[in-house]
Amino acid sequence: MNKESYEAVIGLEVHAQLLTKTKAYSSDIAEYGGDPNTHVSVVTLGHPGTLPVFNKRTAELAITMGLATHCKIREHNLFARKNYFYADLPKGYQITQDQTPICTEGYVEIGESRKEKRIGITRIHMEEDAGKSIHELDPYFTLIDLNRAGTPLIEIVSEPDLRSGEEAYEYLTEIRKLVRYLAICDGNMEEGSLRCDANISVRKKGASEFGVKVEVKNMNSIRNVKRAIDHEIERQIAAIENGETISQETRSFDAAAGTTFSMRSKEAAHDYRYFPEPDLPPLRIHAAMVEEIRSGMPALPKELQKRYEQELGLSTYDAALLTAEKSVVTYFEALIQHTTRYKAAANWILGPVREWLNAGARDMDDFPVAPAQLAALLALIDEGKLSFSAAAQQLLPVWVEEPDTAPDALAQKLNLIQETDEAFIEQLVDEALKAFPDKVAEYRNGKKGLIGLFMGEVMKRSKGKADPKVATALLQKKLEA
């Protein structure tokens, strides 16, 4: 037997911390960081007599994610209590949704546009986060920070439609793209604002029954999710091949070793004793509210990506990169209002502009040049007034310091305008050919690579300002003559 005869079945549970101003059930601010236990009122602390009050923004963001993933939105929602004891869970229960998740039966698409695969979304429900237990700061005590306690989350549960670590990687990338794009969550897996657990089983190809599933936790990057799944698939296949049975359990990923280890067995699993939260009335989501949210949503990255490929003629790769972030899309959309040089526009955003952003760890919103101005620069380059490299290497660094200057004026000032006058360039070409008669002979004998030498000579004589297109054409004409 080899592993090719097996198939993996994977479902992901993704928790996304919502970008609301206040917590899910109190008016305490919901913000990452802050001095420990400073974003806590008596409600967050679970003091006797306190009651939750639902933050409507939580539902709005959950619905936004539901619409982005083609879910049905539930009209009649109940909240439920999930009961368990833990030091960083002050009430002794988490307010969540059990039988009536706000969004159900949706999907996201992964893969290239020509061979897309739909991954089903079983449900999205709203819940609150717990605080943090900090074990490493004090040798004797566990310290508790409740700033995070009560911050709103959505849990996005996929169908077991994923078949490999690679697909899980693509799915999670798509989910993160969506939550960032729609300002639902900042998508930071390292800080834990986006968290993922994986349910993994393997079975013989063609089998109709699922194998025994194992839950894997503690994967703090998308790459680690893929690594953990790949490892877990191999581990389970090897175990079955060795005649062992897979036991239903929860395992943890060890990023350093790239392996998983057992945390607890199914028998040790909690009985959470879910029941309807009596402190919160049912939440009714009216169709009008859903429509209002829908109409306020931007075009989604997948739709834009298709449009960029099909209507603007961009490559799949470029279209995917352009749509990865909302701020980039916003800029690009503005840019193409001012130019039809779509390919050049994409190249600029994904090339020189992105390099400038990366160099300063900046966001697209930090790019100071107005889209109309950048479009004007694209036109200058296209007309041959300025070379791409001069624009990227010499003009741009100056331009970001004085973004209000028009690109042609700046190019003039920096002395970067190319000479396109054919008579002038022809004179330089003639001078270059005269200076190297032996090389001209060699060229004519077939050493075509020497054109670079003549080109360099022309450039030198023009102090770099000759339009290379014009110069090349003239050189070729004279040498071939």
């Binding site: 008596v42 602390l45 679970g46 003091h47 006797p48 007599g49 306190t50 009651l51 939750p52 009050v53 639902f54 209590r81 009961n83 004891f85 833990y86 030091a87 002050p90 009430k91 002794g92 229960y93 566990t142 508790i144 009985d271 004793r273 879910y274 029941f275 009596p278 402190d279 919160l280 009335p281």
Partner: protein, 477 residues
């Protein structure tokens, strides 16, 4: 000073005429509390705070400044309603020494209308009990017979009014915790509609049943207090947005009442024969006065107490999870891992009755039993509510005795919790259905002990209950 309290309107008239000062009134009650310490009704007397508030009000009176609706009213508060800077123990060892950081909404509203809070009252631990015997602070004595219980769980609040330690007191009612002790102490015990008064600041027992209410000497005081405390609260999502009427101005009942009663609850071996006789006599008198009185079948009588205990213990098992010893309250001295610390702190901090209800509630919510108990009880609750509302669509009032007997002896029922639970038969229907109910002190038994009759009305008909109570107390006592 010889001072005898009658009602708030009378007192406020006396204060206005400066026949009395608020300071004199507060000093009187502080003395009363001191002289009756052996009743164990008051856990703490806020002498200093009450005198400061009294002086502030006297100053306002002297200067003819505007006064709140409850000015001069001296009120005691059950120790499950939290007050800023005051200890809040719920009569449990697990909260000994815990001070609240905030006021319950009802307390804020009382203070805003110039009431004077005189102290905290004893009660059953976490409001679980019908005799005030589960309190960590010890039992409260019934002032009518000090060998008897005052009822519970709001036993201290009931006795505080009964023994004239205050003018009125606040209690909470989950299954009868206001009405039953009111009956056993001869006071007016009023539980408004679920959601009428904010629960913010009530230490929760069973969230979908709990309601704050009052002990008073008469209907008008209950009306004035309820009007001030009632109304929507942004801190309590289950509080009602129904407008709050001026109950005290509506104390005139309809000339012809339609009154329903349940024969099954009366032809019942558990009911004291004398209470039964008085109940029938009262029905006859009401008929004679021209009211319609009809017997109505109530199919689900046997399901009331089980439904109540399944649902309230389920909610309680979750509500009391926050008392873990980790964040506040009692923590075990034993050093151990987190699970062990929580488990020991709770084992040490909770009393027997509370543990019994947490265990019951945990059981009925556990997987494999959930549908048989919790889901089933939820359905039965809906049926009981519908049937009750159906009766109340045809009648103004449902009348029952409040309690099957007068006050029992301290220690008499503590060994038999089932017997104790069954005594709740008359009082659990109202909180199961979410409707308002009141115990009216109409009778004194030949054994010398008081007992009350209970009235129930449709949701948000507090006005009707208070008007009928006022009428009965004036004409049928």
């Amino acid at each position: 000073m010889s001072f005898r309290y009658e009602s708030l309107p009378v007192l406020q008239e006396q204060l206005r005429k400066q026949e009395l000062s608020c300071r004199e009134v507060v000093e009187h009650y502080v003395r009363q509390c001191h002289d009756h310490r052996h009743l164990n009704a008051m856990l703490e007397v806020f002498e200093e705070d009450a005198l400061i508030q009294a002086d502030r009000l006297d100053e306002k009176l002297r200067n003819d400044l505007p006064l709140g609706k409850l000015y001069g009213m001296v009120i005691a508060v059950k120790d499950v309603i939290v007050m800023k800077g005051k200890e809040a123990t719920a009569s449990s060892a697990i909260l000994q020494g815990f001070e609240s950081l905030f006021n319950a909404t009802c307390i804020d509203r009382l203070l805003a209308e110039d009431a004077i809070i005189i102290g905290r009252t004893n009660c059953d631990e976490f409001a679980m009990g019908s005799s005030n015997e589960t309190s960590i602070h010890g039992p409260v004595l019934n002032a009518a017979d000090e060998t008897k219980v005052p009822g519970g769980s709001s036993g201290g609040s009931a006795v505080a009014v009964q023994a004239d330690l205050c003018m009125a007191s606040l209690g909470t009612d989950t299954g009868g915790s206001i009405r039953q002790p009111a009956s056993l102490t001869g006071t007016v015990g009023f539980k408004p509609t679920y959601g009428r008064i904010s629960r913010y600041g009530l230490i929760a027992y069973a969230s979908s049943f709990d309601q704050c209410g009052t002990f008073t000497r008469n209907a008008v005081d209950a009306a004035m207090l309820t009007e001030v405390m009632a109304g929507q609260d942004p801190h309590d999502a289950t509080s009602s947005s129904q407008p709050v009427p001026d109950y005290a101005a509506l104390l005139e009942p309809p000339a012809k009442l339609r009154i329903a009663w349940y024969p099954q609850t009366i032809d019942n071996g558990k009911l004291d024969p004398e209470v039964k006789q008085q109940f029938h006599d009262l029905l006859e008198k009401l008929k004679a006065a021209g009211h319609t009185v009809e017997s109505v079948d109530f199919t689900y009588l046997d399901y009331l107490v089980p439904t109540y205990y399944v649902l309230t213990t389920a909610e309680a098992s979750s509500n009391l999870s926050r008392f873990s010893g980790i964040h506040y309250g009692h923590r075990t001295e034993v050093t151990a891992d987190v699970d062990e610390v929580i488990s020991r702190s709770r084992s040490e901090g909770f009393g027997e009755e509370v543990k019994r209800r947490i265990m019951l509630g945990t059981f009925v919510l556990s997987s494999g039993y959930y549908d048989a108990y919790y889901t089933h009880a939820q359905k039965v609750r809906r049926i009981i509510r519908n049937e009750t509302l159906d009766v109340l669509s045809r009648f103004d009032i449902i009348i029952t005795p409040t309690t099957p007997t007068t006050a029992f002896a301290i220690g008499e029922k503590t060994t038999d919790p089932i017997e104790m639970y069954l005594a709740d038969i008359y009082t659990v229907q109202a909180p199961i259905a979410g409707i308002p109910a009141i115990s009216v002190p109409l009778h004194t038994h030949s054994n010398g002990l008081p007992y009350g009759m209970q009235l129930m009305a449709a949701p948000f008909r507090e006005d009707l209950l208070l008007a009928v109570t006022d009428h009965l107390m004036q004409h049928f006592r």
